[in-house]
């Protein structure tokens, strides 16, 4: 299996800067340190009409840029129309929309940029989980219990991949290094991964973690991180990307290979290959091009301190029940 993954990883194109050499740390490792906030705006899956095309045409990109520009102008209007009907979201100018890029989808393998089919076992599992209610996910009109909502709603975690998939706010990622280890911090929900590079074995397979158990090593200038020991209680992009068709539930056998490569002074390619044969019929890979921003401040996102929304959701569902009982 490992060979298969390495072969697959080798097939993934490095977007740019193959000849660029990153700086080294004082102890000689490639230096990936800094603030690398994510950038909302690339869908997880590629629209089917774009086929195997990984980048937008000039015309499509111009359209995307024009949309972003119009939105920024609307966001910057200082006065609200008094007769406007409020939308259901927050004021649009409170969110981080990111900067348009030409990438057509985060998924770069399979070549059509779309998730491979689920295994038949996984299809059955998703249908039959929790007595037919399915795995807890995005709110589906029911909140009989807190566990009808996913663990991001509950402020527990977004899981490893969910923590780095860009959304409309709190996309901060910071990388720090020390001899023999790499530390990755994700702003939402205040995750910190301490990844040893010393070749120590993974934890015993009986120990399971939402963020998994990571081990790293260098392949040239690329940091390769292999993570195992996941639970099956979270979901990839569980309400994280906010796009229809999030990958969703995965099994405890998920084996994640991340490859972090600085391809130029201000770009860090984050590639992740998701290998979970119990869930997907073949491995798939996503690419997130992270841009350096030393002005970005990573702020604590203490999600549990005032998660009033969870209480409102549960009591709102009780109020709905009483109404329909009358």
């Amino acid at each position: 299996m490992k060979t298969r993954l390495l072969l697959l990883a080798a097939l993934i194109p490095v977007v740019s800067g193959q000849n660029w050499t990153p700086p080294k740390t004082a102890w000689g490792d490639p230096d990936l340190q800094g603030m690398w906030p994510g950038n909302m705006g690339v869908p997880m899956q590629r629209p089917e009409n774009l086929g195997t095309r990984t980048t937008l045409t000039d015309a499509e990109f111009a359209q995307r840029e024009a949309q972003a520009k119009r939105q920024a102008q609307a966001d910057a209007e200082s006065t609200a129309a008094s007769d406007s009907t409020p939308g259901i979201g927050p004021p649009s100018y409170w969110v981080e929309r990111g900067t348009p890029t030409r990438q057509t989808s985060l998924i770069v393998d399979p070549p059509n940029g779309r998730l491979p089919p689920l295994t038949s076992e996984e299809q059955k599992l998703r249908k039959e989980a929790r007595g037919g209610k399915g795995f807890p996910g995005e709110w589906k009109g029911e909140a009989a219990s807190y566990d009808d909502l996913n663990i991001y709603y509950r402020c527990i975690t977004r899981g490893l991949l969910g923590s780095i998939i860009p959304v409309v706010y709190n996309n901060g990622n910071e990388i720090l290094q020390a001899p023999g280890m790499v530390i990755i911090r994700n702003e939402m929900i205040h995750e910190t991964r301490v990844i040893p590079l010393d070749g120590r074995p993974h934890l015993d397979s009986s120990i399971r973690e939402y963020m998994g158990d990571s081990r790293g090593h260098w392949e040239g200038n690329t940091l390769v991180i292999e993570t195992t020991n996941f639970t099956d209680l979270d979901a990839i992009g569980s309400n994280g990307a906010g796009y229809p068709g999030d990958p969703g539930h995965h099994s405890r056998d998920l084996r994640l290979i991340e490859r972090l490569t600085r391809v130029d002074a201000n770009t860090l390619n984050y590639e992740a290959t998701i290998d979970d044969p119990k869930t997907w019929t073949k491995p798939w890979t996503l690419l997130i091009a992270l841009k350096r921003d030393e002005h970005y401040q990573l702020l604590e996102y203490a999600c549990h301190e005032g998660n009033i929304a969870m209480g409102d959701i549960l009591s709102g569902a009780r109020a709905d029940e009483q109404k329909s009982a009358k």
Partner: protein, 136 residues
Amino acid sequence: MRIKLATLAASAGLLLGVAPLWAHHAFQAEFDQTKPIKLTGKVTDMEWINPHAWIHIDVTNPDGTVTNWMIECGSPNIMLRRGFTKRSLEVGTTLTIQGYLAKNGTNRANGSSVTFQDGKRLFVGGSNPDIPQDQR
């Protein structure tokens, strides 16, 4: 302008997918889309808490009684990046909120539109691209 934004969002959806803006809790799970509300009142408190900040306002009812309402805002992190500070909203400031009532019948609503008395939008300034990055 709302129509314009909605159109924008729809056309952006062709390429980007349509993302729910809160991206944390589904609006419909907490609030009632059939119950829009417009409130004008004075700020009594600003809870600077995660995952959403909450503005408290005292609203004077037609019969002269006063009701305290809680208005859901964005994440404190993004509000800070958008130029909001603890000093941005003094107690006693009059605001007009447009949003939707909480489903649970309490005096809570989301803040889809938060404006000062003169119609200026609350801390829109932070999204001004002219503000240097290090001052946001």
